[in-house]
Amino acid sequence: MKAKPRFILAAGVLGLLMTGPFLLTALLLFADAKEAERAAFAEFLIPRLPLGGLMTFMGFVGGLILLRSLFRQYVHGLLRMAETMRLMLGANRNFRVTPEGPPEVRELARAVNALAQQRDKLLDDVEGQIDRAKATVEEEKNRLAALMSELALGVIVCNLDGRVLLYNSRARLQFKALAQGPTSMSGGALIGLGRSIFSILERGQITHSLDNIQQRLRKGSAEPTANFITTTRGGQLLRAQMAPVLRTGASGPATATVDGLPPTPPPGEGGDEVGGQAAPAQEKVLDNPFGAELQVTGYVLTIENITRNFEREAERDQALQTLTDGNRAALGNIRAAVETLLDSPEMGTDIRGRFMRVIADEVAAMSGKLEATMNRFADSLKTRWPLEDVLAIDILAAAARRIEEKLKLPIKHEEQDASLWMRVDSFSLIQAITFLAARLQDHYEIRELRLRLATEGSMVFVDLIWSGTTVSSETLYTWELEPMNVGAETSPLTLRDVIDRHGAEIWYQRDKAAHNAFFRIVLPAAATPDAPVVDLAQHLHSDSRPEYYDFDLFAARDAAGAGVDPERKLTELSYSVFDTETTGLLPAEGDEIIQMGAVRVVNNRLLRQEIFDQLVDPGIPLKPEGIPIHGITEAMVNGQPRLDAVLPAFHEFCAETVLVAHNAAFDLRFFQLKEDSLGVRFTQPVLDTLLLSAVIHPNQDSHRLESIAERLGINVIGRHTALGDAFVTGEVFLKMIPLLADMGIVTLRQALEASQKTYFARVNY
């Protein structure tokens, strides 16, 4: 700081001013005086010199004190004010300078505040206009994203580097289901914005499909898509369809190709690409027959997990095969025999008999085969039923309509619980109810059927009630095994099939008191669907845009090679912002991690859905004094995975990102103690928000997370859980990036170097 030498200079000048004139006067008088006068003067003055010196000194000290106080109030005070004013300039517009210090400084502060007020009003005006314009665009994007998220198919959009730009919740669930491992977010199936698709799907497969698509595009194919089936690391079977994301460019091929690439290629580009897979690393420009260039900027993958369906489908294919090709030979024999018979009226009875036998044999064999195949076909048909959650009364209403329409049988509704949900295949269930009604009508001539809906525990009762005629249980058993044919409508399924498929039961019961009888179908109830559960309700801002897409990443290009390039801009990098809760503050003395939380920052956004949140069993008792701070109890950590399992998963979560933490050295010390034994090493660069705060605001007293958050205008919610703190740290970090840029700190390397230079960096843990 430049204030200190200035203060020393000012003190020197004060000293000179206080002693100089006096000494000069004395010197002049002395030079002017006679010899005797000089002696008398000296005789008079020398004994009194200490008194004069003391007085001067005291005066000097008084002057110094005054000077220092002025310095504090005006110079330091103004410096501090300038810092806070800069805050208003960038990070925290709503910040206002607190008027303090001498009246002039306070007046200045008030003037600055007034100025800021005026600027805010102007800015709000402009921003309001921009916002309105933006909102329209954003709304369109969100609508698209919302549509995607509703799809029953997993959808992932990637840029040419294989970085994920969008994924829908189905895709997230699919890959979450693939994840294996001790923690909720490990197992090599991490999906997230900016993450590489190649951690899930094989690179060669993707490259190959992309090449296929490009060839098709070149040929002007109307449907330039590629399909492939692939197995994941976990052995699951995925069916994927790839479609290109195209951009029709107006610019020439040469300029379009370099579009989005840095003007000078980063050092080491080219050779670092893995195994000759450099093909998709640059945007492809293709000339289609119509003259316009089609530029592939990425691709859409629709993904379906077909592991379970696969065997059944194979079986169904086989059934079809047997039905078609398997019957050709027999049919050929019959046809030849029949045609010969028809064309040969002269044929003798004996040989005619042989021809007839051929036909009879072949027809019998074919019938048998058909029967067998149909049975198998019905089997595999069953597994096709996707069960869905439906409102029970809807099913009954539909069944009633159908029965009245098909059978002209009047239906009455008894008490029906309108809130019941069940998990069914609605079509076959309605078919089954109709079938039962038809049988009752045909065989027992019932004139009316009543439908009742009740519940018990986790079961739903669907009762078909009629009066009068009684049926025997045996009759129901027979009906159960018959195909459910109603009038002209036939079904390959039996009632039993439908019942089995639903995990349901059916029985016949009589209610003697009410003089009626009923069939009861018992179905498993489905949970009443709530509003969609949002993982992190407490952290979600309602106005934030959906965080599962970021189309801006289309333009993003990977630096050559893996890892984090320190020469890249802070705004371009991906970060894992994390925090830990521990049993205490002394890792070397046996304190352990009990909770880890992290959130990703990609393309300047905090991705609140892409998080790591895990309690850890420390293997040692918790310290009672820590519990009020972190709020984690023995009961919470019991049965949680140990750090041995969590740290590798966390390591995977952080792959290819810069680590960010507040007071990172503390957390890293815990990691380092485990690195050797676990074989995971956190080699990526680390940024510390504490140090960065000291870089940005060297004159502020406090660099605690709360103070920084307050300074930068961030609402602190959910602090003192690892994830909550990670969120706050992440927001703080995002606010710091533009402040650092104001100071000329733009790249990662610059940020790391500046951190190291700060005073706090010298304090080692």
Partner: protein, 121 residues
């Protein structure tokens, strides 16, 4: 001069019809029940045309077809392959191996006779 036709099929239920029909048309007919018998009979019987089933024991119709085409003595022999599989790939294979025609079961006997006559004309 009546043409000689060799029926190569292991299924008696089709052979009975083919044999009856062809005899009725005035052809001289012999029957082979497996691939090897076809190759043996080809030398003895010296047929003008073979009706060759693809699915036969010992040697498949494809192998027989190749064997016959490799034999210079059988250069004039016409081969019609019969198959119970309707796959295009198989048809292509049969024709590539030297068959003159490829007929998928079930077939019309009238068409078959027309086909045979046109090949022998």
């Amino acid at each position: 001069m009546s043409h000689r036709i060799l029926i190569a099929d292991d299924e008696p239920n089709i052979v009975i019809s083919l044999e009856y029909l062809l005899k009725k048309e005035g052809f001289e007919v012999a029957v082979a029940k497996n691939g090897e018998a076809v190759l043996a009979l080809a030398g003895e019987f010296r047929p003008d045309l073979v009706l060759l089933d693809v699915m036969m024991p010992i040697k498949s119709g494809f192998e027989v077809c190749e064997g016959l085409r490799a034999d210079a003595a059988q250069a004039h022999l016409k081969i019609i392959m019969l198959t119970a599989k309707g796959r295009e790939t198989e048809v292509a294979k049969g024709l590539a191996l030297g068959a003159d025609a490829y007929i998928t079961k079930p077939f019309s006997t009238k068409d078959l006779i027309v086909r045979i006559k046109s090949l022998l004309a």
